[in-house]
Assembly symmetry: C2
Homo-oligomer: 354 residues x 2
Amino acid sequence: MSELKNDRFLRALLREPVDRTPVWMMRQAGRYLPEYRATRAKAGDFMSLCMNPELACEVTIQPLDRYPLDAAILFSDILTIPDAMGLGLRFAQGEGPQFDNPVRTEADVNKLFVPDPEGELKYVMDAVRTIRKELDGRVPLIGFSGSPWTLATYMVEGSGTKEYAHVKGMMFDRPDLMHKVLDTLAQSVTSYLNAQIAAGAQAVQIFDTWGGVLTPRDYKEFSLRYMKQIVDGLNRESEGRKVPVILFTKGGGQWLEDMADTGCDALGLDWTTDIGEARKRVGDKVALQGNMDPSMLYASPERIAEEVETILSSFGNGNGHVFNLGHGIHQHVDPEHAGAFIKAVTELSPKYHK
Amino acid sequence: MSELKNDRFLRALLREPVDRTPVWMMRQAGRYLPEYRATRAKAGDFMSLCMNPELACEVTIQPLDRYPLDAAILFSDILTIPDAMGLGLRFAQGEGPQFDNPVRTEADVNKLFVPDPEGELKYVMDAVRTIRKELDGRVPLIGFSGSPWTLATYMVEGSGTKEYAHVKGMMFDRPDLMHKVLDTLAQSVTSYLNAQIAAGAQAVQIFDTWGGVLTPRDYKEFSLRYMKQIVDGLNRESEGRKVPVILFTKGGGQWLEDMADTGCDALGLDWTTDIGEARKRVGDKVALQGNMDPSMLYASPERIAEEVETILSSFGNGNGHVFNLGHGIHQHVDPEHAGAFIKAVTELSPKYHK
């Protein structure tokens, strides 16, 4: 593998000194970019794009050609694992993901298995290998997975939900079944992320999109516990370097101390927590990634730069900050505004690293 | 007015001793009840039901006839104020509320005015008077309003949103305009709630449904500040009794101390905060209302009772707890399960008030 030319992102995750705060954007390869929409049109539907390593590589690289980003993130979907388990993933137009075979009964649960990352999920590993080759050491590549709880939410509901009737019904009334689902998922995610690391991922992030809809008790028992199981099982070194692990629970601002105790290297923060307060709470246990409100990209470039300064100054001097949005970039954002955001981070952050 | 036969709810909000923890449910007059659906069908559309004082009274009382609830809440919509401002509220089938004339420009903002509660909004005050008469002192009647930020979100977006592009765009780039909208709304809500109190409301709740989508800085400047302005302007006594004020910010668990500092009497909690921890944080400044996950009502009656006990025991002995769900009851809940919830509170709570 080529030597890494820009390791700011990896160094910041390990709280090592950097010349400026590294920056990337969740969902940076996405619909707000016209070049993404063109490649997506070529691929056909969304999953065909995910399953084509060359096209997945193409959209992964696109934002790097536009902006001075410090990391690339594998282009894929969070629902690849349940799809590989045979649940039949579909993306209905304008309706979000749906499963043909949701997991509702004990019989459904008993059919679940740990997919082979180089079998059913080989297309993901091929994408990782293709992207690493194409990146040629330009920036590090981030691998990722959904958290067990987040995957289970989609698998049990079968589609998006506001009420979580099925998945919480199972959690409340059949915790034994829910734990079985989550344990199988934790094993699957561990093996999936380790395979991504073996294929070339240089850091990994676990996206816990739905952890924030739980009570504190249920969060610890049904989401955080299984993320810790994954953190414990990951290969944390590859190619002679540490492979940092980032945990991101949307709406998890009240539980940062518990998240930091899992042994991960960094926490992703959404924008409802002040990053300076978060830093005080977690001390030097973990680095922090975030946390500008993604809707700020609808504001003027001047206002965006002002907000970047506010967040940099709230974090303060020193190591351990990766700049990012607090959630994925919205599809209707003007790419020029995304550029203004990234430029502001690169220009305003060096003074915090003197 | 008739003497109040059950004042548990009012006493608990003022942290006075009670024989058991009082209980009511947000959205207790709602679609999960077949009798509500029957009255709603009779009324035609949703706003016709809100605007008909006799039918609004009928649905307000319905849950009291089924369950031993300790409070009634005015049946109305949170968007009555913007509707009275001439924005043209509509409920499209399956799409949630929409405004024909969203507030986007300076000219739109300049047209806003404080509606006369006994003019454009007289139908609401008539409903309050009708319900109070019909209740005949059975339990106290809660009046309510949306918070200024929550109303502004709907008014500027014109409909539901996940991205808040318009309202946050205005907040970020034209804070002067946004403050003007919010100040007009704070004046309107103050006058609206004072009129409800004059008409017979015995407690009031401010619903800040969308405060939780803001950064801590923006929450304080654009949501909390205007709720405090309202609290400061309310008539806190009526019919020789104190009229308690409850603030509820969904997703506001990180800001409870700031909310308690507004001078309100009680905070509504969603289910993502442990109520015992919340009690430690706010001390004896305010009472707490909440906070069972509404999805718990999809579980078995046994599991529901177990969760009620967990929450009661987390709050612990002593005064200042009103039991409620952490958000409105979901429409697909079995009314028997709602009954099991209320029964559990009445049966399990007396031991915490010895």
